[in-house]
Amino acid sequence: MRSLREALLAFRRAPLLSVLGIITIAFSLFAVGLFGLVAVNIKETIASVEERVEIRAFIAEGTPADAVAAAIGDVGSFPEVARVDYVSQEDALKRARRELGEFRDVFDAGFLPASIEVRLKPGFRSPDRVRSVAARIATYQFVDDVRYGQEWVEKLARIRNIAGIAGIALGLAFATVAVMIIGTTIRMAVLARSREIAIMRLVGATDGFIRRPFLIEGFVKGILGGGAALLLTWLASLLINRYIVSTSFFPMQLAVIGVLGGAIIGLLGSGVSVGRHLRRV
């Protein structure tokens, strides 16, 4: 209660420093937010490409329908498999005609074999998994051939790995810089009041008592800065959507986590700065 009052007083006594602090926090987190936006969109793009990973097994002509149906049931129960579709010869022809437009007349029923199309669950689309599922499907007597675009799957996996590692490294770098900048800002706020802290100690204030208003102040600054950063990021994504490419924004939880992260950085930053300061006086 008193701490809250003191924290508010601190804002009132040094409005410029407080506002500067909030702006600094906002911009450091904005940089993190922009990076996050890029990362989220790259990840989504890769995921949507990955969705097209599919295994196609061509079925020998004259295979009895119930054998194929049994195999479809079997394959559908593999843990990696999301869905299995049967593509009959007619379907294949229709599809080929649709996709190939002006050459449609070249095709003849019977020219294209029937097949089953297998899609994998997210998380099971790595080259190894795909290969292992393909191998299992290939063991059916009536399966002539299994295709899954091996080279393409491997390239995709490589891109995803590189993007993941780069994302983590860059994200850590951005976050570290943000934490350092925010820490410095808070240190300044603490140093600006070092005289006050010394006098508090002199008249017998306990460390906790001295620390509390700073913690509240740091927390509030973190929330305000984090909120402002979120707003800036959101505006940026609107602008990008309108003028450059269509992107998606953070899911709600991630946005909340970001703002809370700002608050926690503010809280911890204040705690550490005051603690360090107290140990020296």
């Binding site: 008193r2 006594r13 005289r195 006050e196 010394a198 006098i199 508090m200 100690r201 002199l202 008249v203 017998g204 204030a205 306990t206 460390d207 008592f209």
Partner: protein, 231 residues
């Protein structure tokens, strides 16, 4: 109440500031600490309010010993010590009464009691009319009175004053000294470091003189009764 036992204090960079200092201050006593600049007066006071701890020896203040004191206990101790300095150490952005109230808030005094205690203290130090003035609107003597009021607000058993008149002219010095005498007369012990020999001469309080970190003279340590006084 305050007892130094064979205290040696060595600072990390500047070396030995006190050597083998022992003395005792009784309840309600008035003690001058005097000696040349750099002799160790402020160091002795810092050891009393435990801003510094002895390198060798022990300082005991109202039941707490520097040997095993904890940080939280030091905070509690300071609520029972009043401390004033040459440079007043007031918060510039708060009025006189807010400065005094601050020392009460810090100790968690009930909020309802704060205004009446503050105004009683302001009256005691003769500043009732300047309650809402800010430090920059007060003379040096008046600022020191605010600082003394703040030091007294928690009813300490000892007032520690490090050259409280060092920045004041003669008139203000006499006023502050008079105030300290009154405070002492009401039962609070006073330990005052000063260069002002005039003050020491005009009163007959106990005087401890320090030179190069050692006690070279102590006028009145709870002296054993002299034989001639018996007859």
């Amino acid at each position: 109440m305050i007892r130094f036992t064979d205290v040696t204090k060595e600072y990390p960079r500047t070396g030995v500031a006190l050597t083998d200092v022992s003395f005792h201050v009784a309840k309600g006593e008035f003690v001058f600490l005097t000696g040349p600049s750099g002799s160790g007066k402020s160091t002795i006071l810092k050891l009393i309010y435990m801003e510094e701890l002895p390198t060798v020896g022990e300082v005991r203040v109202s039941g707490l010993s520097t040997v095993d004191v904890k940080r939280a206990e030091i905070a509690k101790l300071r609520r029972k010590l009043g401390i004033v300095f040459q440079d007043f150490r007031l918060l510039e952005d708060r009025s006189a009464e807010a400065n005094i109230a601050f020392a009460l808030e810090v100790t968690g005094a009930p909020r309802s009691q704060i205004p009446s205690r503050v105004s009683r203290l302001l009256t005691q130090v003769g500043l009732a009319s300047k309650a809402s003035s800010f430090p920059r609107e007060l003379s040096g003597g008046e600022q020191q009175r605010v600082a003394i009021a703040r030091a007294l607000v928690n009813e300490p058993y000892v007032l520690i004053a490090d050259e409280p008149t060092g920045n004041l002219d003669d008139r203000a010095t006499r006023g502050i000294f008079q105030l300290l005498r009154e405070i002492n007369a009401s039962g609070t012990a006073v330990v005052m470091a000063t260069h002002n020999l005039e003050l020491i001469r005009r009163s007959d309080y106990r005087t401890i003189e320090i030179n190069r970190g050692q006690i070279v003279f102590d006028s009145g340590e709870a002296k054993p009764v002299q034989p001639e006084e018996l007859v």
